[in-house]
Point group: C2
Chain length 160, copies 2
């Protein structure tokens, strides 16, 4: 038990260290580093808008869900609106949240490739209308031509 | 203090619940749901291969780093090789890890857009050779034509 608490304390401490890191990934993860957070956002992005719907979908504790929804509202990822005549709320995705779809689908594609389900892919991503399978990749901004990942250069600016 | 421990215990319990979720994102996140994990993988992907280099880059505790590196080796994300004549190891990315570049860069692009640094973008992603800026997006698998995210349909298979 003492060990467990010691380990948890370390985790907490390291989480706050990590928030101070100057790095775009650290910045992003300080928002949704908690694993539930991305799952909640996925639910809201897929149209679940009520507390009860999300709670049923994920089966996480009511306290934890309420806490996460409040954080996400404060961070600007969800818009919380009162349902008139009740004390309840609906949650809809903001622009910030819509822009997370790429990250969530990247994670989902990876999961299907490397932690596959024996019954086959859990996810299909297609082009509406044609039904052609699509996948995430790199695209040149000016002419929308696809670029292979091995031909992509990534440069991080080091804070001077 | 009691409250803190109570909260941490809940977090731990919910993390194990979350591992049982049948969902591709949950599967992926059960591997690198810890925020440090993606940062360690980013470091290894950017060429840092030694324990000391990663430790210096992230500034996290030696115990926590050793624990995460062992997990990542067991999960098949890193390859650990002994440096001959020493008791030390180098870490290199496996195929699984290389395939995470899309996710990591999606997260990084989001971070630069929505949690920007006052001094400007922390990351530039370009095409090698031409230097043209590139970004992540959807591409049709058969002909590599870019598809706008709003023209993409995502379907999850529900376990029957």
């Amino acid at each position: 038990m003492t060990n467990l608490i010691g380990r948890l304390r370390n985790e907490t401490r390291s989480k706050s260290n990590y928030r101070r890191l100057h790095c775009t990934i650290a910045q992003a993860l300080s928002v949704f580093g908690d694993q539930w957070t991305l799952l909640i956002l996925r639910d809201v992005l897929s149209g679940l808008g009520r507390y009860e719907e999300i709670q049923r979908s994920l089966g996480l504790s009511r306290n934890l869900l309420a806490l996460r929804l409040r954080d996400l509202d404060e961070q600007g990822l969800l818009r919380r609106e009162a349902i008139s005549g009740t004390r309840r709320f609906t949650y809809t995705p903001t622009e910030q949240c819509l822009d997370l779809r790429v990250t969530i689908l990247a994670l989902a594609e990876w999961g299907d490739r490397w932690r596959p389900d024996p019954d086959g892919p859990r996810l299909t991503i297609t082009e509406q209308g044609t039904g052609a399978p699509v996948t995430l990749g790199f695209i040149r901004k000016h002419d929308k031509i696809a670029v292979d990942i091995d031909a992509v250069a990534v440069k991080r600016r080091i804070k001077g």
